[in-house]
């Protein structure tokens, strides 16, 4: 029972599966550890290839111990999920290195089913799903190979067939089985992402927006509001000399109060957002946002936050309102005007100059915009890093090249120096609009920072110096920006976006984007709420109790149907030689409207046809002879006879 028939193929397949798994986890595991895994995997390949014996237990166990230590050292205990994945991969690979009996391979293949699923914790894109599905089929094929002598091709075919058969039912179960809430809170995988952070220090960044990773998608319900779209994520209220931070005060004292009564304000837009998995809690919304979705909470700044840290796609509905013109509290006003560091002397005097020449805050706002528009500032994605404690001075008066962070940082500093409440906001600007489905796709390279200024009687107003320095940046995404396009693309890591000059590729990219949107909206985002809506739309809200019944019945019927299919009497064995040919003649005769009496032998029937159709009598009688020779004369039905029979049939049919 324990004799393996296909050990080599099984080893290859499992090594291949684990090689793919390692590739999936490359970006999440430390490089040294990935190296170790790759080495073990390659070793196994090599052993199989060269028909060498597997290493003995002692050696393998010592190596496993060493690798385990290395794993704990490099991966660390901080992220339990990745630690768990690392352990799973390491254990499976070592087991594979030592596997000799069928039982060992059984353990490995079943573990592999688990390892494959854990890929989805980190990545759920369509491509990943397709790849993992193929690996599933391969893994099933390995199971089949362990049982039979087939080769890999047949085994994969069988397992593919089986999984295809099972898939509709599994999908059905997913759709209709009531979704359960999480049993217990598990630590989510920490995803390393580039993007926003709670600290904005533009001056030590030299390279920016090189990631075309998706951040979120927004779908407007009705009319979409007027561009530009400033997606707010974080508010920074504290300047420490170089960077803008979110003060602890703001972090913990922003519980939503009813001061901003939503009814009074003008609704700008309502839309739904699908945010990609991320470990940070912040979410995205336009202007003053609020949401009724269960996993999302709003705060007094009009920002949205996840209720729990969950590394998975999150879909929520948002209503966005204009900011109210309600006066700021005294304390608030003080806080938004406060500057602890005033070492940017030139900038301070600039602010004072401007302040003296203007009569109102609004006036100041406009003249600062003028200032940025007129004094030779340029927008760049590759700024020169600046250091020192007067970086804003350096930027405004020496360098004059920068991206949004520089402009926002400088502008907020100027406003505060002039005694106007201001805060820095980071988030995303714009996004790529897909006209077909009214969806906006926002990627990491759309990250932006701007200033919100509190103007008397107007409330919080956006001040974006980038708007005057590089106005194109406001409309649409960086990817659609003509002027910065080249710089932007050379900056991007290679990807489809970097090829968007070619219309065909651009079209393909947009189509894929759309597909990906549908995928995250319907497959990944199918949660309890959506399921409820879906079930209600089918059964009506009163008949929801029908669901379990329906599930049971359908599943039962499927299985019974399959069982009956399996046990159907097999088709009768192949017809005896010449019988098929005889039936052909008979069918032809019937077409000629000859009614043959039932009680004739085939020979007699042929004679009867010959009588009725004198023109083909010759051929028919030859056919009869052949028929008798083969059927009763024990002559073998050779190829020649076969072709003769065919020719005769042709003759019979032609000679009408």
């Amino acid at each position: 029972m324990d004799i393996l028939k296909n050990e080599k193929v099984i080893n290859y397949s499992l090594s291949f599966i684990y090689a793919c798994l390692i590739v999936f986890f490359v970006s999440h595991l430390p490089l040294v550890f990935v190296g170790v895994l790759t080495l073990i995997c390659a070793w196994n390949f090599y052993i199989t290839l060269s028909n060498k014996p597997k290493p003995n237990a002692w050696l393998a166990n010592i190596l496993a111990g060493v690798s385990l230590g290395l794993m704990l050292y490099t991966v660390g205990m901080s992220d339990t999920v990745i630690l768990f994945v690392a352990m799973l991969l390491l254990a499976s690979l070592f087991k594979l290195l030592q596997a000799k009996t069928k039982k060992h391979y059984h353990v490995i293949t079943t573990l592999t089913f688990f390892s494959l699923s854990s890929v989805y914790l980190f990545n759920q894109s369509i491509l990943t799903t397709l790849t993992v599905s193929c690996l599933y089929i391969l893994n099933f094929a390995v199971l089949g190979l362990l049982e039979s002598k087939h080769n890999l091709k047949i085994a994969s075919k069988q397992s593919g067939k089986l999984l295809l058969l099972a898939l509709p039912l599994a999908i059905f179960l997913l759709l209709f089985l009531p979704k359960m809430p999480a049993f217990w809170q598990l630590p989510g995988p920490k995803l390393a992402k580039t993007g926003l952070s709670e600290q904005v220090d533009p001056f030590d960044i030299a390279k920016l927006s090189n990631s075309d990773e998706l951040v979120f998608r927004a779908k407007f319900n009705e009319e979409k509001p007027v561009a530009p779209y400033y997606w707010r994520a974080i508010v920074h209220d504290e300047f420490n000399g170089n960077a803008w931070l979110t003060s602890d005060f703001l972090k913990y004292n922003n519980v939503k109060t009813n001061t901003q009564s939503e009814n009074d304000e003008q609704l700008i837009a309502s839309y739904s957002v699908i945010a990609e998995p991320a470990t940070q809690k912040w979410l995205y919304g336009l202007a003053y946002s609020s949401s009724n979705s269960p996993n999302v909470e709003g705060n007094s700044l009009g920002l949205l936050r996840k209720k729990s840290r969950q590394a998975k796609n999150l879909q929520y509905d948002v209503n966005s309102f204009n900011f109210t013109a309600l006066p700021l509290g005294e304390f608030e006003e003080k806080r938004y005007k406060y500057l602890s560091n005033k070492k940017n002397v030139k900038t301070s005097s600039l602010a004072k100059n401007l302040k003296q020449n203007t009569h109102s805050d609004r006036d100041f706002y406009n003249s600062l915009l003028q200032y940025f528009a007129g004094t030779g500032f340029t927008y760049t994605l590759t700024p020169t890093p600046m250091s020192g404690d007067n970086t804003i001075d350096q930027f405004l008066f020496d360098n004059q090249r920068g991206f949004c962070g520089h402009y926002a940082s400088a502008a907020a500093y100027i406003f505060r120096t002039a005694g106007i409440p201001a805060r820095l906001v980071s988030g995303y600007l714009g996004g790529e609009l897909n006209q077909d489905n009214n969806t906006l796709t926002v990627r990491q390279y759309d990250a932006h920072a701007w200033v919100e200024v509190y103007l008397q009687n107007e409330g919080w107003v956006i001040f974006d110096a980038t708007a005057v320095v590089a106005p194109e940046r406001l409309n649409g995404s960086l990817s659609q920006n003509e002027e910065l396009n080249d710089e932007f693309k050379s900056n991007l890591d290679f990807g489809l976006v970097s090829l968007s000059n070619f219309p065909a590729i651009n079209w393909l990219r947009l189509e894929l984007e759309n597909l990906d949107y549908q995928w995250s909206s319907w497959v990944l985002g199918f949660d309890e709420e959506k399921q409820n809506d879906f079930l209600k739309s089918i059964f009506g809200s009163k008949n929801i109790w029908l669901v379990p019944l329906m599930v049971l019945l359908t599943a039962g019927f499927c299985f019974i149907g399959y069982f009956i299919y399996l046990n159907l009497p097999k088709r009768p064995a192949k017809l005896a030689p010449m019988v098929k040919e005889f039936y052909e003649v008979k069918a032809w005769a019937k077409k000629q409207k000859i009614n043959t009496p039932d009680n004739l032998t085939p020979s007699q029937q042929l004679d009867f046809f010959a009588d009725q159709l004198p023109r083909s009598a010759q051929s028919i009688s030859t056919f009869r002879q052949l028929f008798n020779q083969v059927r009763y004369g024990k002559k073998p039905f050779t190829k020649e006879r076969k072709t003769q029979a065919k020719d005769l049939i042709k003759l019979i049919k032609i000679s009408k």
């Binding site: 029972m1 759920q124 598990l186 046990n567």
Partner: protein, 328 residues
């Protein structure tokens, strides 16, 4: 499946045995069994249980991370499990296992049983296992409507009479997730004869049959040349002495006779060595005597078999030797 049945306490074993017998209701007490609804049993194999555990783990992971893709994989695994039940059952159904023949053996060789397997539809991957042991296991990849013979070696190598235990007919088709099995319990005994130990001297052969006149009583036979007699037309030409014909032109026929050999008595007490050795020697003598067609009598301390000859007699004697359990 490697099981350590031998290590279980015997009380538990016998209890299990009795429960089993009750459950099986003697349905399998036949020499030929066709697997059908009543006689097929299906349970997940050990691999199947691992598989279910992983499916449950996947389910828990999918629920806790609210991850539809993991959930669907988990559902997929459950559905595959059920499909495996259906496929496995349909695969095994209709298989006929028929007892064909039993081969007794001389120790230390092992006896074997031959089965004939046949199935109206194709049945894949069938194992015949005796007493859940790795050694007594036979696999066939495919059984179809053409009868197929399968020899199963039994794990007995020491002398004795054994009643054949239940034989498991199992299949792990299609993915090894399910064990679909049935039993066949033969109403047969199987013998392992004593090993053959050559005996050279005749001293131990008791010539009890003194009165049977040694070498006198004759009957026409084929062993010894007796005389030449004239050829008669009905005699045929096989025994013509052509040498004489060449010399004398006279057709003579060679006449042979068998001397009626004295009946032998093989007595346990006259053998040397311990019980097993004596039995081995007796076994050798019985076989030799049967080959030479010598009538013999077998005498054991507790039982005697009267003088006779022929295969049946030999079988009787060997079986007696197998089941002997007295001491010297």
């Amino acid at each position: 499946m490697p099981k350590k049945t031998a290590k279980r306490p015997s009380l538990f074993k016998s209890f299990k045995q009795s429960v089993f017998n009750k459950l099986l209701k003697n349905k399998h007490l036949k020499n030929s069994i066709t697997l059908e609804h009543r006689t097929i049993y299906v349970l997940p194999s050990s691999l199947g249980w691992y598989f279910v555990i992983v499916a449950i783990l996947n389910f828990v992971m999918g629920i806790n991370y609210q991850n539809n893709l993991i959930l669907i994989m988990s559902y997929l695994m459950f559905v595959v499990m059920i499909i495996a039940v259906l496929m496995g059952y349909s695969n095994a159904k209709g298989l006929t296992v028929k007892f064909k023949d039993a081969f007794n053996s001389y120790a230390p060789q092992k006896p074997s049983i031959i089965f004939e397997l046949q199935s109206p539809s194709v049945t894949k991957s069938i194992n015949l296992t005796y007493q859940d042991s790795e050694q007594t296991h036979k696999h066939t990849g495919q059984v179809d409507s053409k009868p197929q013979l399968l020899t199963l070696n039994l794990p007995y190598s020491s002398r004795g009479k054994y009643s054949v235990q239940r034989i498991k007919i199992a299949s792990n088709y299609p993915f090894g997730l399910m064990t679909v099995w049935s039993y066949i319990q033969l109403q047969e005994d199987i013998f392992v004869y004593p090993s053959l130990e050559q005996v050279h001297s005749d001293a131990h052969v008791s010539m009890l049959d003194e009165q049977a006149d040694k070498g006198i009583s004759t009957q026409s036979g084929s062993e010894e040349f007796e005389s030449l007699i004239p050829h008669l037309p009905e005699m045929g030409l096989q025994r013509v002495s052509w040498k004489h014909y060449a010399k004398t032109q006279q057709l003579l026929v060679k006449e042979f006779v068998d001397f009626k050999i004295a009946n032998a008595l093989f007595d346990f007490t006259l053998m040397n060595g311990d019980t097993e050795q004596r039995l081995s020697q007796l076994c050798f003598l019985v076989c030799e005597a049967t080959e030479k067609n010598t009538p013999f009598m077998l005498k054991l301390p507790n039982k005697t078999i009267n003088t006779n000859t022929g295969q049946h007699h030999k079988q009787q004697c060997l079986e007696l030797l197998c089941s002997f359990n007295g001491d010297v």
